[in-house]
Structure formats: C-alpha cells, structure tokens
C-alpha cells in the first residue's frame, strides 16, 4: 500500500517537473520581424559581385543577397503572408495573375526562366527582365522584395508547408481533383460496413 502511494507520488512529481521543463516550449511563438534596421534594409542596393573586400568588410548585410540567410523569409509564416499581401498590393497580379500567369509567365509551375532560387527571384524583381518585367529598384524596399520573392516560391510549392500561407483564395499549384483520372477506392467499391460478418 505504502509502495503504491510512493509510486503515485513519484509519478506526480515527475509529471510536474516535465511540465515545468517542457511546458514553456509550447508557448514559444514564431519570431516576427517588424522593424528591420532602417538603413541596411532600405538603402538603395549596390551591386557587389563578390564578398571579397579590401580592409575590413563593410558592416551590415549586402542588401543584394539578403544577408547571410535570405531563406529565413521562406521559412517564416509572417514574411510569407506579407509577401502574399504585397503580391496583390504591388500589382504583380496585373501580369502574373495569382500565379497562373497572363501577360507575364505563370509562377506556380516548375519552369523558371531566370532561376528558382530566392536570390534569383529577388534579382528578377529588383533588376527587371527583358520583354516586360519592370525593375522595382528604389520602389519597393529590399525587405519587402524578399517577402514577395519568398511568396513567389511558395506558389510553386518550394517553401515548407507549415510556413506557407494557408487557404489560398486564388489559383492553386495543385490540379483540381476533378481533373484526376477516376480510380476505384482502395479496398474495392463495397464499404466494410456493407459486407456480411464473416
């Protein structure tokens, strides 16, 4: 009897310790970056083809490469949904529609004329491309261009699913289910509930 009480006590204390140690982890919220460093984030980007610099390197990330880690944007849900909002606000939809393409090429397929890397997409937006893509240099701050570039990748399904904006209201990269060839459901057409008990 006493052993049972002791065991129950040990289990309770153990559960309390586990809660105290691991409980707070469930409350950790994804980081939101509202305020990028104003100068580094908005200075007009200078082209720098190499990271080699005489003397000590200039402080701050090279705005043209998104710092050391531009893929941060495509793993961050807030950045991706901001990109989705800006994609409409900056009138990308005017030519690319909601990824399906129109006057401009579609963005939700797997063809990339100028590369699918987030840096390639950033360069395409900032520099512009022949035959119609305007240059947004000096019009959209680099921070927001990275967000748009990350969202463009999410349309083609290239970003982690758990970070990508949920519930797209427009065209989706996935083909509609109605276009799939008809297949009999696994396990035959007769549901288990309709079969006689064996």
């Amino acid at each position: 009897m006493r052993a049972g009480i002791f065991a129950a006590f040990v289990i309770l204390v153990g559960a309390a310790v586990l809660l105290l140690v691991f409980g707070p982890i469930t409350y950790v919220r994804e980081a939101r970056e509202f305020r990028p460093d104003p100068v580094a984030a908005t200075a007009p980007p200078e082209i720098r083809m190499t990271d080699l610099q005489p003397g000590l390197p200039l402080p701050g990330p090279n705005p043209n490469t998104g710092g050391e880690n531009p893929s941060w944007y495509e793993r961050n849900a807030v950045a991706l949904s901001e990109g989705q909002r800006l994609f409409s606000a900056m009138n990308c939809v005017g030519c690319h529609s909601h990824g399906g393409g129109g006057m401009g090429p579609p963005l939700m397929d797997d063809k990339w004329i100028y590369g699918s890397d987030i840096k390639n997409i950033y360069a395409t937006i900032v520099e512009g491309r022949p035959n119609g893509m305007p240059s947004f240099r000096g019009k959209i701050p680099p921070e927001q261009v990275w967000q748009i570039a990350a969202y463009v990748r999410s349309m083609a399904g290239l970003t982690p699913k758990q970070a990508s904006p949920s519930r797209p209201d427009h065209l989706q990269a996935k083909a509609p289910e109605a276009s799939y060839p008809e297949q009999p459901p696994a396990g035959g057409l007769i549901p288990p509930s309709a079969t006689a008990p064996q």
Binding site: P36, P38, A43, I140, P141
Partner: protein
C-alpha cells in the same frame, strides 16, 4: 428624471472618472448619443435602487434572524407553517419584480434602439468609411466623380444634419465608435453596414476602433470634426481641389521624390501621377491634425520620423521604413507641407 437626482448621479459619476472630453459617452453631443445616455442613466438608477434594496433586505434578514432565534429558543415553540408562507410570498414578489424590471428594460431599450438605428434619410450627406489594418479610409460620395473627396482618419460633418455612414472592411472585423455621437457599429468584411450620425454642437470628437483587429488595434483612432454648415462646405470645396502645384524648386524636388520613389507605390496625391490606392490618400495631408490614425500629431518632425522609421511608432503597420538622404527628406517634407 428630475434635476436633483440627475445632478447627484452626475456628481457620483464625475467622482468615478472624468466625464467630459472628446471621447466620452456621458458627454453626448448628438441626438442618438443623448438617447443612449438617457437609457444608461435610467438603467444605472434602477439597478442601483435594486442593489440598495437587496443589501438593505440582507442586513434586515441578518438582524431579524438573530432576534427570532433568541425568541424561539425562549418560547420553545416554532411556527414553521407561518414562516414558510411569508418566505414564499417574499420570494415570489422579488422574482416577479425582477422579471417585471428586466422586461421593462428590454422593451425600453428595444424602442430606443429602433429610434437610434432608424434608416437614414435618402437625401443625407453620404460618407463611406472603410476600416483597414490599421487606419480609416473616408470617402465623401458624390454623383460627379470629380467631386468625390477622399481623406483618412478624419471626418468632417456639418452640425445639425444627419450624415449617412456606410461602413465596410476589406480585411478583418473593425468597429466604428465615436462615443460622443453614437454607439458602436461593426465593420464586417463582405457586407456593408449603414447608419447615420448627427452632431448638434460643433466640436472635435475622438473615435476608436472598438473591435480587436490585430497588432495595432489600439492605434486605430480617428477624429470627427463637427463644424457649422458654411465651414463644412468650405472644407469640402478645399478637399475637392487637386494638390497645388509646388511653388518653388525645393518643393518641386520633393514632389519628384514622391512620385518617382517608393511613396507612390502605395499613396495617391490627386493632381500628380501618384494614384496608388493601397495607403491613405495624401492629397490634403497638411490639413489633417494627426498622422498614422491618430498616433502622432501632424508636425514636420513627427512626419519625418514616421517616414524614416514607422515601425518603431506602430510596430507591424503596413508602412515600410524609407531611407532618404537628409536633403531629399527635407525636400519631401517641404512638399508634403504644401498639401493643404
């Protein structure tokens, strides 16, 4: 309500907190707010009376129980039948009274609500108010498109006239609330709410979003300026004009920075090529008293700080920081100050 208890209650309420000001339902400045305030006073009076009665009954019961218990102990002869009967009568009477009061309240507030939220007259001045995260877009509708006026976070209305307000929201639920003029009215995405407001004395009344709408909900306020009809018409005529041509080289340079730079991606200034509809219309920015939905006073210094670093004043808002060399910033500010 007669003057004396009303004054006494007003003194009570005043002692609980300041009751005059630009954002106060007890300082009503229009017929609808008067009605709502009247309802509030009636309900406060009746419920206070009920509360005092209940507390008094409780005190009497505590006192009587003790006397009774002593008396019963002396006599040794309880009379449960009579006691139960009087208890039944008391409970029935108080339940009946409660039901009657609540029923009266329901009917009274229903009748007043029908008056307050009655359909606006057809020929009234019409304003479209759109709640964005986190600012208010205001549009004065007119049959002639060249006479449509668009502004932000500031509503001017003529005194003594009903003004129809059409509310909508493109993003999340907001709520339009100017306590001095009316109750709350929600802005639900995908549908339009129509009601009217009226001010019966000139003044500036503060409004506030009253439905939690995200990160900067608290910084989503606006001002309603009620003016005499002539002053209002003068203001409206001024707002209908396009932005004036910049008078000198500095302001011309500022205009060029605005229309060629990132500002024109979101903001519009009528009379220039800037016509984006994503941020507030800035055609008459200098005529407004605040910027960023009532967050900062509209002064040159605040404007410069807001342009350079909006995210430290209002984290999460839609305006990105804009880096400009100091000389360009001065030119831009000089231009923005001409937009009266």
């Amino acid at each position: 309500m007669s003057a004396k208890p009303r004054a006494a209650l007003a003194a009570l309420a005043l002692s609980l907190g300041g009751c005059e000001g630009p954002q106060n339902m007890l300082d009503s400045s229009g017929p609808q707010a008067d009605t709502i305030e009247g309802l509030w006073w009636v309900m406060l009076t009746v419920t206070s009376a009920v509360w005092f009665l209940v507390v008094a009954a409780m005190l009497v019961a505590i006192w009587r129980r003790r006397v009774r218990a002593e008396a019963l102990e002396l006599s040794g002869e309880p009379k449960p039948h009579r006691r139960e009967r009087s208890l039944g009568i008391a409970v029935a009477a108080s339940v009946g009274l409660t039901v009657a009061i609540l029923f009266a309240f329901t009917i009274y507030s229903f009748v007043l609500e029908r008056r307050v939220f009655a359909a606006p007259p057809k020929d009234a001045l019409e304003i479209q108010v759109t709640g964005h995260q986190w600012w208010w877009q205001v549009r004065y509708v007119h049959k002639d498109p060249s006479k449509i006026v668009e502004t932000a976070n500031e509503i001017h209305i003529p005194v003594g006239q009903k003004v129809t307000v059409r509310l909508s929201s493109p993003d999340v639920i907001h709520s339009f609330w100017v306590p001095n003029l009316h109750g709350k009215r929600d802005l639900i995405p995908g549908q339009e709410a129509i009601f009217w407001i009226e001010a019966d004395r000139p003044g500036s009344y503060r409004g506030q979003c009253a439905e939690f709408c995200g990160w900067q909900h608290a910084h989503m306020s606006f001002w309603v300026h009620a003016e005499e009809p002539e002053a209002f018409q003068a203001w409206l005529e001024q707002q209908r004009r396009p932005a004036p041509e910049p008078p000198d080289d500095l302001t011309r340079r500022g205009r060029d920075i605005f229309v060629t730079g990132p500002c024109a991606m979101c903001h519009a200034i009528s009379g220039t090529t800037a016509s984006a509809r994503f941020g507030p219309d800035l055609t008459h920015l200098a005529s407004r008293t605040t910027i960023a939905a009532g967050t900062l006073p509209n002064t040159r210094g605040h404007l410069a700080a807001w342009i350079a670093d909006p995210q430290s004043y209002k984290p999460g808002n839609r305006m990105p920081p804009t880096f400009l060399p100091p000389a360009d910033m001065q030119a831009l500010l000089a231009y923005l100050e001409t937009l009266r």
